[in-house]
């Protein structure tokens, strides 16, 4: 089954290779990523290959009537390109970052898009957190780097949980509805082999070596998540995961006031939203059961998360 295309959009991999290549080179190609339209331009073949590989199921079109972002991934125009092969990211013509080694171009696209969303989409409360949904209930996993958030998120998304986002959770401050992006999941170092063996049939982007995070790559969002990306979800749990080598799985309730503080530390634009952010965060914490979660084995972790779903079933669900 392929995603339902609307408004003239078709899954990106349904575009002919020529239409795709020319559209991308001329900056006329747009990807629908959840609620966002992203116009992309690049002549770099590895970025094109990456996009076609991991965004192949996302709706796309040529010459969109509107785009939230216009992004280019390109070789820098300065003299440094003669000394070392480099790549730079531009959004709306601005280059917010220093160039990176050329081999990191696909990763730079993802990091740059993260930055672009976090810097400007203040219609949502945005949190550095993974977010997944099952049976209409969503879990938000805020966590600092190194906590095992993305590894856990990848495993859950490959075992029946619908991926909304790995990095950026978008929360409607009025309704608390969570908007999905279903973008690729950024995995690094040992997590890559772990997830490769966990689900050998998954789709991957290329490896990028020697990044500031070590070896990284991107796992394509599962098809089911892309197909249902526009389906919003309501938050049910706030879980702060932490990988602890050798640990038995442990789900421990959290103090709500302290959860508020931890949540805000992971929010990108809490202070930008002022009282709106305060109010939304308070209601979010009221709406969620809040936990710390330690784990070492993915199968154990999945069992715990599936138990959360079972425990939340009301008698009406069984009728």
């Amino acid at each position: 089954m392929t995603p339902v295309a609307t408004d003239g959009l078709v899954p990106l991999e349904h575009l002919s290779r020529d239409v795709f290549r020319v559209g991308l080179a001329e900056g006329r190609l747009a990807l629908q990523i959840g609620p966002l339209v992203v116009r992309v331009q690049t002549v770099l073949p590895d970025v094109a290959h990456y996009l076609r590989g991991v965004y192949g199921q996302h709706p796309a079109c040529i010459d969109p009537s509107f785009a939230d972002f216009t992004i280019e991934v390109r070789k820098p125009s300065n003299l440094r390109r003669w000394f070392r092969r480099q790549v730079e990211f531009a959004v709306e013509g601005e280059t917010p970052f220093e160039p990176l080694p050329r081999s990191q171009a696909p990763a730079l696209f993802e990091w740059g898009l993260n930055w672009s969303i976090a810097a400007s989409c203040h219609q949502w409360l945005m949190v550095h957190a993974a977010c997944l949904e099952r049976n209409g209930h969503a879990v938000i996993l805020p966590a600092p780097p190194g906590s095992g958030k993305s590894t856990l998120c990848a495993a859950l998304s490959l075992r029946g949980w619908r991926l909304l986002s790995d990095e950026l959770t978008l929360i409607d401050p009025s309704t608390l509805a969570l908007h999905g992006l279903a973008r690729p999941i950024n995995l690094k170092n040992q997590s890559i082999d772990l997830i490769r063996s966990f689900e050998p049939s998954a789709r991957w982007g290329p490896l990028s070596y020697d990044t500031t995070k070590g070896v990284i790559t991107h796992l394509a969002a599962p098809l089911h998540s892309v197909e249902h990306v526009r389906q919003k979800a309501q938050p049910r749990w706030l879980v702060f995961p932490r990988y602890v080598a050798g640990a038995e799985p442990l789900l421990a309730p959290r103090n709500k006031a302290q959860t508020f503080a931890s949540f805000v530390q992971n929010a990108f634009n809490y202070s930008v939203l002022g009282e709106t952010g305060f109010d939304a965060t308070g209601r979010l914490i009221d709406a969620c059961d809040c936990f710390d979660f330690e784990y070492s084995k993915l199968d154990d972790a999945i069992e715990v998360f599936d138990w959360l779903i079972e425990a939340s079933r009301s008698p009406a669900d069984d009728r």
Partner: protein, 83 residues
Amino acid sequence: MPPAAERLAWKRWPDGSAVFDRALGHTHILNCLTSAVLHAKLQAPSASVERIREMIVPAGNEAVPSLQEIAESLTELQRIELL
């Protein structure tokens, strides 16, 4: 600066509070005691430490706070400019 009762938005839970200061744009997380002290002080701005202790009703099995604990909470609330 407007009175604290107008300046502050509250979110209260049994284990503490989050307070948003509309005037400064700051958010503070308060433990149960400090939250109760602030609440009492907003109701009775001139209340003494002893009077605040009378106003605080301990939740559940919590012990009645000492005068020193209340004084420390007041100091903390002044430090973070909620009083």
